[in-house]
């Protein structure tokens, strides 16, 4: 066979039967599986947008490798007023945009205002807090005034949505900002983008204002290419054969063999919070029954899914939130039922869910059957398939509808489904719960339609309280309440692994908003 193929190659007159060419020297080729629709930080919430935005632009604050400590970014320091409502940021005075213009307080005010402007339609503008006004006091001082205290603010401003961008570039490019061009203060500058292909960026000469978590504040590679390879086998083979230098999109099935591969280096971030969960619409037929929901939590084999779908690169989620996260409530973990399909059957039997002729249970004429919406990526597909079989065994019928990412968000904003599968990044209990459970966040991101006055009160307390103890208690109450109501089936906690080729030194997994390769600093590529 091999000879035949070689003969074919020669026949076709194909040149260069030498080794497959690696990436050019001094260029870092980053491999990933999906592209973003655009790279305007205020208009996209995709991880694919974030990983690029962090390299093209900077944020006022940054997060340390421990995923807890907020460290300076473009802001050298900041102070909070005693009432917790006004943050004063002192900016660096040595920062320039890629086009050479100096960055000042006006740029910060412009960028944040643009992000939270309703016309920008950012789905995550709540992350900026209840803003009253931003003021440029002098070229290096910004007053960030809120209507209510928001203790999470310094963390939230480290997310890429709050990237500082150049007003002239935004106004010149209009809707093509982040599509045909970009001007930021980041370690790399926009060069070109072919959608679903390569995004190329070049070193920002003179950049030396990196967050203090890096050893060298200046970028060391002269060019970065973000290359999209949708097929996981191809991506894997490209990495192993040196056609790419670094990726976080390792097919899980390959992780163990990659760990043993001497020509690759793997970096793991233990402080990583990215969870897969099932959410139920608590006011939709059949899934509005807490007993049925609880029985489903008991029926799903989370350990089995973690093993069969994630191949050990994910941990079964046995609590609403990750136990390592800030303000996690250990009691809520004890309240979460474990894998017990027999117990689930008994629970359903005892509560009037009788098995029907077709194997699906029914109660008061309603069949235990509902539709689940999700994304049609391979992981979601395999999770839901496994779940479907698990639920079928206890007499619950799960109908699956998975959508392409571009449509899925719109579909998930409707009321046409009973449950959904999603995964999300978070950094603290307050961050996660304040995203999904305030009644004001219906229909998205509160797709559960969870509407509870006590929850709202606790969450407000958690956001605005200046007392750490009080905040912790309020968040604990919410975690217990939600666990008891089985609003979610927490499924699997993803792990973050960054694989890099032999010629690449210094790639370390960060994990902010799921982004493994944060800023691309401290990285060198050899031959």
């Amino acid at each position: 066979m091999r000879k035949l193929l070689l003969a074919f190659l020669c026949l076709a007159g194909l040149p260069a039967l030498a080794h497959a060419q690696g990436a050019p020297a001094d260029t870092l080729v980053v491999l990933r599986s999906a592209d973003s629709d655009n790279y305007d930080p205020a208009r996209s919430t995709a991880r694919a947008a974030g990983e690029v935005a962090y390299m093209l632009a900077d944020t006022l604050t940054s997060i340390d490798w421990d995923m807890k400590t907020v460290v300076p970014g473009l802001a050298r320091s900041w102070t909070v007023s005693p009432d917790g409502k006004t943050y004063t940021f002192k900016l660096r005075d040595d920062v320039t945009f890629c086009d050479g213009r100096k960055m000042t307080a006006d740029d910060v005010v412009y960028s944040i205002n643009r992000w939270i402007d309703p016309a920008t339609r950012s789905p995550v503008r709540w992350r900026a807090g209840p803003v009253k006004e931003l003021r440029a006091v002098d070229p290096t001082t910004v007053d960030y005034e809120l209507t209510q205290p928001f203790s999470e603010l310094p963390y939230q401003l480290a997310l890429f949505f709050a990237s500082i961008v150049d007003r002239n570039s935004v106004e010149k490019l209009g809707p093509n900002f982040g599509v045909q061009g970009f001007n930021g203060t980041g370690p790399f500058c926009w060069s070109s983008w072919t959608p679903r292909g390569d995004l190329v960026m070049t070193r920002h000469e003179g950049y030396n204002w990196a967050p203090p978590i890096f050893k060298n504040p200046a970028p060391q590679v002269s060019k970065v290419i973000w290359r999209v390879i949708p097929d996981s086998n191809t991506l894997l083979a490209a990495l192993q054969s040196g056609q790419g230098d670094v990726t976080q999109y390792i097919p899980y099935v390959a992780l163990e063999s990659l760990k043993k591969n001497p020509s690759l280096h793997l970096s793991n971030q233990p402080n990583y919070f990215w969870d897969y969960f099932i959410g139920f619409k608590v006011d939709k037929p059949v899934v509005n029954d807490p007993v049925l929901r609880r029985a489903m939590v008991m029926s799903v084999n989370r350990a089995g899914i973690a093993k069969a779908v994630f191949f050990g690169a994910g941990d079964p989620a046995n609590a609403l939130l990750n136990p390592a996260v800030k303000d996690f409530d250990p009691k809520s973990k004890e309240m979460e039922p474990g894998f017990d399909p027999e117990g689930a059957k008994k629970l359903l039997d005892a509560n009037g869910w009788a098995a029907g002729a077709d194997g699906v249970r029914a109660k008061a004429g309603e069949r235990a059957s509902f539709t689940l919406y999700g994304f049609n990526d391979p992981i979601s597909a395999r999770i839901t398939e496994a779940m479907q079989a698990d639920l079928r065994r206890v007499g619950v019928e799960l109908k699956l509808q998975l959508f392409d990412a571009t449509i899925a968000w719109g579909k998930l904003a409707t009321q046409d489904f009973g449950a959904f599968l999603m995964s999300y990044p978070y950094v603290s209990a307050s961050d996660a719960l304040n995203l999904y459970f305030p009644s004001t966040n219906r229909p998205t991101p509160n797709r559960m339609n969870w509407n509870d006055a006590r929850t709202d009160e606790w969450l407000t307390q958690a956001r605005t309280s200046l007392d750490a103890k009080q905040r912790e208690e309020a968040l604990a109450s919410v975690q217990r309440q939600l666990t008891e109501a089985s609003v979610w089936i927490p499924l699997v906690r993803e792990q973050l692994w960054l694989a890099s080729s032999k010629r690449t030194q210094g790639a370390r997994a960060h994990g902010i908003y799921g982004v493994g390769l944060y800023k691309g600093l401290d990285i060198t590529v050899g031959k």
Binding site: N233, A308, N376
Partner: protein, 271 residues
């Protein structure tokens, strides 16, 4: 027919095709397994005593999945060729019979042929949502113009024959003339076409599945199984290789049989 049975390759293809069809029909009796019941513990188990052909990524036995997959794949192929071929044949016969309609029908067919089948698949999946039905519909649409051309070509030859003139002279109605006289005389061409087309349609269907528009998980369908298994090609190759080989064998059987049928029935037919 006798000529067909003298060719050992053709006989082998015929027997293989019949065996595959029988296996598909009797799948539920050939195995007691459930193609949809998972066992995450034995996920990706290699071929061995417990699972002859191994287990897939959800720990489902591949022999069971293969039999049920074969069932659906063959059904999809047969239905789309039967429906598409039926419609196409009628159009083709009409085009040959009513010369005035010929231009219109054939231009319509040209338009249909201008859409590669894969684009039909994409568009139809966008309208009705991905699934086995969408694939079948796309394959039906893609089969119509081809069947129409074959039927028309065969019928035009027949139109010149004496019996058609004779039938007309006796005052037979158009419908009767077309269905009772014209159609049977084009049957050999159409049989060859249908046999070869089933193979092509199964290949096309698997390509549509590969792009994510085919039968959706957890449905056991060969194309979908191959598409799902390809993620693990380098680690558990059997998951993708088993359905891929099955597709290959099925398509090969139909193609060889079709070739043999053509040589025996209608050597001038070019397909």
């Amino acid at each position: 027919m006798r000529r067909l049975l003298r060719d050992p390759v053709a006989v082998a293809a015929l027997l293989l095709t019949l065996a595959l069809i029988a296996a598909a029909i009797f799948a539920p009796w050939l195995t007691h397994g459930d193609p949809y019941d998972n066992d995450l513990g034995s996920a990706m188990a290699p071929p061995g005593e417990e699972h002859w052909l191994g287990a897939d990524d959800q720990g489902r036995d591949l022999v069971v999945r293969l039999l049920y997959g074969l069932r659906l794949t063959l059904l999809m192929g047969a239905v789309s060729v039967a429906v598409g071929g039926g419609i196409g044949t009628l159009l083709g016969l009409a085009a040959a019979f009513y010369r005035r309609a010929d231009g219109t029908i054939m231009r319509l067919m040209d338009v249909m042929l201008s859409f590669p089948a894969i684009l039909f698949g994409l568009a139809i999946a966008a309208i009705f949502g991905p699934g086995a039905t969408a694939v079948m519909l796309a394959l039906v649409v893609a089969t119509i113009p081809l069947a129409c051309r074959v039927a028309r070509a065969a019928a035009i030859v027949e139109m010149g024959r004496d019996y058609m003139e004779a039938g007309r002279a006796v005052g037979l109605g158009d419908g009767r003339l077309i269905l009772r006289h014209l159609l049977p005389n084009c049957a050999s061409s159409l049989l060859v076409f249908a046999t070869l087309r089933i193979g092509q349609v199964i290949l096309l269907g698997s390509a549509l599945s590969f792009v994510g528009l085919g039968a959706q998980p957890p449905t056991a369908e060969l194309g979908a199984m191959a598409a799902q298994g390809r993620t693990f090609l380098f680690f558990a190759p059997h998951i993708a290789v088993v359905p891929c080989v099955a597709i290959f064998v099925v398509v090969l059987a139909f193609n060889v049989l079709g070739d043999a049928l053509r040589d025996a029935l209608d050597p001038r037919l070019r397909l």
